[in-house]
């Protein structure tokens, strides 16, 4: 059981939760994730850790309500409520070293998991250039946190309502074209965004890591549902990842696999698998 200590809405359908989770807060490292299950009928939902407070014994997750289970969480759970199951930390921590310059790119709610990694990279001595993007101003999250941990921050929106109009790849391309040679580009966000970032950095031969969000069940290496083609190999995102060399990831396959339960998701509404109306 994990109690919700705070909850706030960034934009409709995007919420941040702080959970009472002392053991996970003590053990987790940047780049790792947790799995939650809201109640006995719920499914297991993997969520990247967006922040943690070791002394306070809390972790922060940011949830975009994309499916029934996340909607159920958003609609039915408030401060003081308990989430039935919380498992973690899972996955391999991010590889942190001094790359001299690291470009940290987050798209949509992908900015949330980028933040603790950027913070660790900064501590390791890197110059941090961050690029955060979203469809519009309302969907930009973690702006202040990212500003505080970055040497330079770019914001892009599809409609230009804040920052530059365009995509995260625009400032990235300019930096690389101008001769910037980052040792690392980190990209977390929608698969299309990560694929586009990888395509740009590949031209310049810049090492790029993407953190993947595949469909999972157990999250401990048991089911293989999260498998993804990386180079010539099949990897499990839950135990081999979630971060992989973005130039080797088969993003097309990842996108297709994310669609596997689209029809089933459309079947129920906001009952999060507690449907009594059929």
């Amino acid at each position: 059981m994990a109690k919700i200590l705070s909850k706030r809405e960034f934009s409709p359908g995007v919420k941040e939760y702080t959970l009472d989770a002392p053991l996970i807060a003590k053990k987790c490292q940047a780049g790792q994730f947790v799995i939650i299950r809201t109640d006995t009928h719920g499914e297991r939902i993997p969520l990247t850790i967006a922040d943690f407070d070791r002394d306070g014994g809390t972790i922060t997750i940011v949830v975009q309500e994309v499916g029934n289970s996340t909607k159920h969480l958003g609609e039915s759970f408030g401060v003081g409520d308990e989430i039935l199951d919380l498992l973690g930390p899972l996955g391999r921590p991010s590889h942190i070293e001094n790359f001299r310059t690291a470009i940290c790119i987050g798209g949509g709610i992908g900015v949330a998991p980028v933040y603790p990694i950027a913070r660790e990279l900064k501590k390791a001595g890197n110059k941090i250039i961050s690029i955060i993007g979203a469809r519009n101003k309302d969907l930009i999250i973690f702006e202040e946190k990212m500003r505080a941990t970055s040497d330079e921050l770019f914001i892009t929106t599809d409609d230009g309502s804040i920052g530059r109009k365009g995509f995260v790849t625009d400032p990235l391309r300019e930096i690389l074209r101008a001769g910037g040679k980052p040792g690392l580009v980190l990209a977390i966000g929608p698969v299309v965004m990560m694929r586009n970032v990888a395509a740009v950095t590949k031209e310049y031969g810049v090492y790029t890591v993407a953190s993947l969000n595949s469909i999972m069940v157990d999250g401990t290496g048991m089911c293989g549902g999260c498998r993804v083609a990386v180079g010539d190999e099949t990897k499990f995102v839950c135990v081999d990842g979630p971060e992989f060399d973005a130039h080797l990831v088969d993003f097309t396959n990842l996108m297709q696999r994310q669609q596997m339960y689209k029809e089933q998701e459309a079947l129920e509404y906001s009952c999060g698998g507690h449907c009594q109306c059929l």
Binding site: L23, I24, K27, R37, H41, G42, E43, R44, N68, S69, H72, L84, D85, L86, L87, G88, P89, L90, V217, D218, T220, G221, M222, C223, G224, G225, R227, V228, A229, T234, V239, D250, N253, Q256, R257, Q259, M260, Y261, E263, Q264, E265, L267, E268, C271, G272, G273, H274, C275, Q276, L278
Partner: protein, 469 residues
């Protein structure tokens, strides 16, 4: 003239292949007494030697036929913490029943069915309940058990009865391991597994779910920081193997682990009343012919696939699944494509599987396992329609604990190296079940658990006697 063993009543095949209720319905009281009456009560009971946990089989049967049910369940429980489970899923035909002298001239006594009967009867009548244990009685030492499958539960039961404080750490949200996520409801109802586990809790066993050892705590931390005197690792064979053929990452292709975990642990067969979905198409093909493969095929049928087949590269004789399960599957309409080997899964432009390209095989010389090795027949390729493909060719050990535990060796397959008493190469760390042997049976894991419990007891006793050693 010997009397034949009494048949097990079952749901009719055409009914049961559409529901998740238990297939075998169990003996009634009268049948159980009659079957128990066939037992010869041998002085030198060979059946007992065939039991990996050494149940006093003649005695529990004698108690049964004397209608002393409380003693009968006590005999079972003294050696086996999970009799209702073992009575259902043990391969008795190759263990206790194989040794039964009645089997030489007729049919062996139905030991498994009687074990199941006694366990079910005791549960329904609330007989032989575990005595509630006071915490202060558990003062012989503290033992951590990693994994709550058959091996871990056995160690927990045995050590708890000896007076140890036992904590089980389970990564999933419900205890039971493969009994919960792997074996389907129609073969092993989950309510029964949870009842057996509740009995262990009464004995004083603590179970912490959602704890992934290797991440939440390492084995080293359990011993050095969390105050455990010993650790038992029973994490099973949870890493699914794939074929490594083209198309395996298409949608509609599952590992048997994923397919069964969704169906069993997550109860996808109740979707959308529960949230976890499972997509089953019209034509399902399961690769492999072990018990897991047969479970997956029968589950796919129940989830609505019109045609379900099992694709196996050898012949019927070599199929590793229990005969009883294979027969059940055939009755339920599962088709077997034998001497058939998939080489490629073909998909459509949306990334969904549509068919499997297979080749025909023939059997050659016996290989290292003693089974005739299959060889491909050239130019025998053909297409088998399949929009759901379930890969059930075996599981390996999850690497998380072997790679995060210093001083504990694993072999090149990743299985933890342990002796017959469960001792690993690290002091105070024991292991047993599939994590040591590779995928095997529930009862062999329980046998390993029994040996490890004894060995852990000896280890802690000797350490207490010689604290400086």
């Amino acid at each position: 003239m010997p009397v034949d063993r009494h048949p097990m009543p079952e749901q009719p095949a055409g009914v049961r292949n559409k529901n998740f209720d238990e297939v075998a319905l169990g003996y009634d009281l009268e049948t159980a007494f009659a079957e128990a009456g066939r037992c010869l009560q041998c002085q030198n009971a060979l059946c007992q030697t065939g039991c990996p946990v050494n149940i006093d089989i003649p005695r529990f049967i004698k108690n049964l036929r004397e209608k002393d049910m409380a003693s009968s369940i006590a005999v079972l429980k003294s050696k086996n913490s999970l009799p209702a489970v073992c009575g259902r899923v043990c391969p008795q035909e190759s263990q206790c029943e194989e040794k039964c002298v009645l089997g030489r001239r007729g049919q062996p006594i139905a030991i498994g069915r009687l074990e199941r009967f006694v366990a079910d009867y005791a549960r329904e009548q609330q007989l032989g309940l575990a005595p509630a244990a006071a915490a202060e009685e558990k003062n012989r030492g503290k033992v951590a058990i990693v994994g709550s499958g058959p091996a871990g539960l056995t160690v927990a039961g045995d050590l708890s009865r000896m007076g140890y404080g036992v904590t089980i750490f389970e990564a999933l949200h419900e205890p039971g391991g493969v009994l919960m996520y792997g074996i389907p409801q129609f073969r092993l109802p989950k309510e029964i597994v949870q009842y057996e586990i509740s009995q262990l809790k009464l004995l004083g066993v603590k179970i912490e779910v959602n704890m992934v050892i290797g991440r939440s705590y390492t084995i080293g931390e359990l011993l050095e920081e969390e105050g455990f005197d010993a650790v038992f690792i029973g994490t099973g064979a949870g890493l699914p193997h794939f074929m490594n053929i083209p198309g395996e990452n298409l949608n509609g292709v599952y590992s048997a682990n994923e397919f069964l975990t969704r169906a069993n642990l997550m109860r996808s067969y109740k979707f959308p009343f529960v949230a976890t979905p499972l997509v089953v198409g019209k034509k399902a093909a399961v690769i492999g012919a072990g018990n897991v493969a047969v479970d997956a095929a029968r589950t796919a049928k129940r989830l609505g696939a019109d045609a379900v087949s099992i694709v196996y590269r050898r012949s019927e004789k070599e199929m590793p699944a229990r005969n009883e399960e294979i027969e059940h599957a055939k009755e339920e309409g599962i088709v077997f494509h034998l001497l058939t080997y998939p080489v490629k899964i073909i998909g459509n432009d949306k990334g969904w599987a549509t068919a499997m390209e297979c080749v025909r095989m023939e059997l050659g010389e016996p290989d290292a396992s003693g089974r005739r090795s299959p060889k491909e027949i050239k130019n025998s390729n053909f297409l088998l329609d399949a929009d759901t493909v379930i890969v059930a060719i075996g599981q390996g050990p999850n690497p998380l604990i072997p790679t995060t535990t210093k001083g504990m060796d694993a072999n090149k397959r990743g299985n933890i190296i342990a002796d017959e008493n469960g001792r690993t190469t690290r002091d105070g760390v024991f292991a047993g079940g599939d994590i040591v042997t590779g995928a095997a049976t529930v009862i062999s894991a329980m046998g390993a658990g029994k040996a490890a419990a004894k060995s852990i007891h000896e280890y802690i006793m000797s350490k207490r006697a010689n604290p400086d050693k």
